[in-house]
């Protein structure tokens, strides 16, 4: 595995936060920020990564699969789904909206969105593309029993990987991440699904993120998983495979 060069400024601020756990610019008490989510949810993981990038403390409220809490229903009456960020008692829903909110509310480096409007538009495009294609296809793969029924959705995942391999080249411009030298919006949007990608590979005994086909993405995935903001957040494949047995996938497809 290649060593990732961590810029000096990032290394210093990481040390500072480890020691004191209080960046004077973003002194946020954990009671100010709450996150309602699930350990297994890629959407929740996105928000956790963003919070980690900004060294923000928060209260983690774990939702159970079976029963939606009153807090969740009250905080997200429109969709009744996680994640929901509650900042100073005001709820914000939809993972990508929350990530942008975190980046804007706590603008200290590292930035999550690029600085140039065109690059921001591109980042939003790819993040929305992932939301449009990835999880909906994965849900169908888990939901359908026949190989033939799953086939078109595997093809979608394959196409997404091809496009993201290509996009990586254009967006990273030779740097380790889509966002450049630090992880950014596209990294978070896409990387948050790496756990479920491994779960699909394991359950269906089929490698998708193949090095020969997607050399840049494979290396990127390795770097992403060990990034300090991400470490420990991507669930293990066998835990997700086990969880997948109790999820009502058909019902999940029909919801919108």
């Amino acid at each position: 595995m290649s060593m990732v060069k961590v810029p000096l400024v990032t290394r210093m601020s990481m040390q500072f936060n480890k020691r004191t756990n209080s960046n004077p610019i973003c002194m946020v008490k954990s009671s100010e920020v709450k996150l309602i989510g699930k350990w297994s949810s890629s959407y929740t993981i996105r928000v956790k990564i963003a919070l980690n990038m900004k060294s923000l403390e928060y209260e983690n409220i774990e939702e159970t699969l079976k029963h939606k809490s009153d807090l969740l229903l009250h905080s997200n009456p429109v969709y009744a789904r996680i994640p929901v960020l509650i900042h100073r008692d005001r709820p914000i829903s939809e993972s990508l909206v929350i990530v942008e909110y975190i980046d804007e509310t706590w603008p200290t480096p590292p930035s999550i969105l690029p600085s140039h409007p065109y690059d921001r538009a591109l980042a939003r495009f790819w993040a929305t593309y992932i939301d449009d294609k990835w999880f909906p296809s994965m849900k169908c793969i888990f939901a359908f029993e026949a190989e033939e029924e799953r086939k078109p959705y595997f093809e979608v995942l394959e196409e997404v990987l091809e496009r993201m391999e290509d996009a990586f080249g254009k967006c990273s411009k030779g740097e380790p991440f889509f966002g450049g030298d630090t992880i950014g919006f596209i990294d978070i949007a896409f990387g948050s699904f790496l756990g479920w990608l491994s779960a699909v590979e394991q359950k269906f005994e089929r490698k998708l993120l193949i090095e020969a086909k997607f050399p840049a993405l494979v290396k990127w995935a390795e770097r992403f998983a060990v990034d300090p903001a991400v470490k420990g957040l991507i669930p293990e494949a066998d835990k997700l495979v086990e969880l997948s047995k109790s999820i009502k996938w058909r019902a999940a497809i029909e919801k919108k």
């Binding site: 900042h87 921001r120 538009a121």
Partner: protein, 222 residues
Amino acid sequence: MTDIKLHGFWYSPFTLRVKWTLKLKGIPYENIEEDRYNKSAQLLQYNPVYKRTPVLVHDGKPLCESMIIVEYIDEIWPQNPLLPTHSYHKALARFWVKYADDTFSAVASLVRSSNGEEQEKAIEKIWEHLKVVEDQCFGDGKNVFGGDTINIVDIAFGPLITLLVVLEDALGVKILDDEKFPHLHSWYNNFKDVPIIKENLPDQDKMVAFIKVFREKLIASS
């Protein structure tokens, strides 16, 4: 001199979102009318992922997806701003922009509906979405839609409601019922009369005629 081209369809609500934004900010642009049954090589090159309009080309660089384009325009040309400045209100606005896009899926089902049962089901789904907007976006202290000035949520929903009004005519159904959705109905009545919107609304009769033909072709091919 900045070069802006907009590849779109005159009848598309998504193209309309971008057109209204450009007009509101007084940004000159070249309109390139695409043919959905014969898309230009340029369009396919600019949007290889979705192969669809609208695409905004700014100084040779393409941007895709209507609301992403709208935010981009708002960032580069800040006059008549569409997004609020406070990050919380921005987040709320973005949430409802996404909800408008989710609502479009329900509208698409209505456009595609080939029989009474499908039509009814699609209208029920649209009503569910409109009810959420009616209940959550209006009332005391809620300023999701623009008040005196047009904002991004108006831009996101405006063309959707415009299309619903066309579908009401084309299908002979009532969707935006003022008894069911009094606030939404009132908001739209004001919105469509704002001069820049009024001047840039596609002709109702032309739209109804188009939708009828469009539906026939869709249903025939499915």
